[in-house]
């Protein structure tokens, strides 16, 4: 008789921390901010037990720069924060993108702008997908919608970070971080813990040539070359874009939503389907690269679109860019500061379906 897989009941924050440990993350650098404190709290004991290290930094700025150092040394490392703290981390994230340093950064999005509130929101979408710091860059951004997916995508984030030498952002929100669900933890096989050995600063062992990790390119044309290289890298990610499609095949109306809102929208879509109404859900899982091709394919079938976000309208830009040659998308904003329910989404979906 085969053993049943272990099931545990954890918050989204803890699932991310556990996923990082399963992915052989060796260092965690954190700074307290609500609603992500469970992550550094969990890491402060479990990372040490796992043979790694944990530092509570003096600021988000310092935590992100510690991450930069660990990534440059070729070690799997992570930091986490929430919206105001993420703004402070952007300096280091820009440097990591410019220096091609792999790292995993978690943002449990809360309400803004400014200090805002500590409730859920999706107002950091632009910052997360456009390169929130200075300069021309992008990084992978993953948007989990369930606690299990938070665990799974954290493991994937480390592989992506090291394969493509880039910071990878996991964009959750206060709903995902604070919600408890049963998950099935798993341990990835063949984690390449020494994945950075051929480029990282590891010491000139055996007299090899020195290595330099930097983002400064002063010589004429050098920065242009680096930016061309980075852009080609970002272009190559296009094929890695991913989305969940739910009941889209025969749908007249596609609801586009990601993360926690994607999950809430799915409940609304289920209810409409039970009533025989042809509504489907398109939930981007990679927010950058955005799954534009899949969305365009749906648009070419003549479907209508409604984008729902927990912000004033950000991802809707990406939806419109994807389908602009054949269709447009309506938009429904859930204002940050409110906690949405599936019921709240029914009226805007119905209005859109009926062409109102």
């Amino acid at each position: 008789m085969s053993k049943k897989p272990e099931r545990i009941f954890v918050k989204g924050n803890e699932a991310i921390a556990r996923g990082a440990l399963a992915a052989k993350c060796k260092c965690f650098f954190g700074y307290p901010i609500t609603p992500q404190n469970d992550i550094p709290e969990f890491m402060s004991s479990e990372m040490i037990k796992a043979g790694g290290d944990f530092v509570q930094a003096e600021s988000e700025v310092a935590a992100a720069n510690m991450l930069l150092g660990a990534g440059a040394a070729g070690v799997r490392a992570m930091t986490s924060s929430s919206s105001p703290g993420m703004s402070l981390k952007q300096e280091a994230i820009s440097y990591m993108a410019g220096s091609e340093i792999p790292a995993v950064v978690v943002n449990m999005n809360r309400g803004g702008p400014g200090l805002g509130d500590i409730g859920p929101a999706q107002g950091d979408y632009y910052q997360s997908t456009r390169g929130g710091g200075h300069g021309d860059y992008r990084h992978f951004t993953l948007g989990p919608g369930t606690v299990q997916e938070a665990y799974d995508l954290t493991i994937r984030a480390f592989d992506i970070a090291f394969k493509h030498r880039t910071p990878v952002l996991i964009l959750g929100d206060a709903i995902l971080g604070q919600m408890k669900e049963p998950i099935t933890p798993w341990t990835p096989e063949n984690v390449d813990e020494e994945g950075g050995r051929d480029w990282a600063i590891t010491g000139r062992d055996n007299g090899r040539e020195k290595r330099l990790i930097k983002s400064l390119f002063l010589e004429e044309g050098a920065l242009a070359g680096q930016n061309q290289h980075l852009q080609a890298k970002y272009d190559s990610w296009k094929d890695l874009a991913e989305a969940e499609q739910f009941e889209t095949e025969d749908a007249d109306l596609i609801v586009c939503a990601y993360g926690s809102i994607g999950r809430i929208a799915k409940s609304a879509v289920r209810k409409f389907r039970a009533e025989g109404k042809k509504v489907g859900l398109f939930r981007p899982i990679t927010l950058y690269p955005f799954p534009s091709d899949d969305l365009l394919a749906l648009a070419k079938q003549g479907k209508r679109f409604l984008t729902i976000e927990h912000n004033l309208g950000q991802m809707v830009d990406d939806v419109r860019l994807a389908i602009r040659t054949v269709a447009d998308s309506d938009f429904y904003a859930i204002y940050p500061g409110n906690l949405p329910t599936p019921d709240e989404l029914e009226e805007p979906i119905l209005n859109c379906l009926e062409g109102k």
Binding site: A57, V61, A63, G69, S99, G203, R204, D205, S215
Partner: protein, 256 residues
């Protein structure tokens, strides 16, 4: 006289790369680089060194020392080096920072890395001015010193007093060694090397944080000849920034 009778008494350390530097005539960065290079050779550290460079004139240190290096954002070198050291604790890790980098924008990072007792070394080059950006006031600019942002001279009631970093760092738990040297005379240079060596040893012994401030000249931004700049260090800087060891846990018998 034939060449056979000549005896080589001074050569380039292997850890210092054979190339011309970009520094101005009379700048002391080259001396500081050489002292570090000599110690990396003498202590056989080059192959296990992970260097963190910072922003300012010294950002190109990575072009002159033959060791692995990562470049940090302005002021963040102690945080970057913390990440490097925590992830590769068996390596020798140091930062090299100027006064604007370390004592202004990076004040939080240096204070907390020192206070945590990170097992790393910080080389702090203090020339009382922002060099690379064109001679603006630094936290260490002396009272009365003219800079491009204190054209009438630094005034304590308006700009505050020059910050004495070594004294502050020495007061923090986690610090194994803190000293201030100067690079303006041969005697001071020799003493500065001893301080650096001691700081390096404390890291190798896993004792605690090592900090060495080096009073240095910036003839270009001071608008002085190199010799006059050296004299300024003696006559104006050392009286305000006294040289010496401010903390040495081996002498105190303390453990960090």
């Amino acid at each position: 006289m034939s060449e056979m009778n000549e005896k080589l008494v001074f050569d380039r350390p292997e850890s210092v790369i054979d190339r011309a530097t970009h520094y101005c005539p009379g700048c002391h960065h080259g001396i500081a680089h050489r002292l570090i290079g000599e110690l990396l050779d003498e202590m056989n550290l080059a192959e296990k060194t992970l260097m963190t460079t910072s922003i300012g004139c010294s950002v190109f240190l990575y072009n002159y020392l033959n060791v692995d290096a990562v470049e940090a954002p302005h002021g963040r070198a102690p945080a970057v080096a913390t990440g490097v050291k925590r992830s590769r604790p068996d390596h020798f890790v140091f930062t090299y920072q100027g006064d604007g980098d370390l004592a202004s924008i990076g004040m939080a990072e240096i204070m907390h890395a020192a206070n945590r007792g990170e097992k790393m070394c910080v080389v702090f080059v203090n020339n009382t001015v922002y060099g690379m950006t064109g001679g603006q006031m630094a936290p260490t600019t002396l009272i009365g010193q003219r800079t491009t942002t204190t054209p009438a001279g630094r005034c304590q009631t308006h700009e505050g007093a020059p910050i004495r970093m070594t004294e502050i760092i020495a007061s923090l738990g986690g610090v194994a060694f803190a000293a201030r040297g100067a690079l303006n005379t041969v005697a001071n240079i020799k003493k500065a090397k001893k301080y650096l060596k001691k700081a390096f040893e404390f890291q190798l012994n896993n004792t605690g944080f090592g900090f060495v401030e080096l009073l240095s000249g910036c003839p270009t931004n001071w608008k002085m000849t190199p010799l006059a700049a050296n004299e300024r260090i003696t006559n104006e800087m050392i009286p305000y920034f006294p040289l010496g060891v401010y903390k040495d846990v081996s002498e105190e018998g303390g453990v960090c």
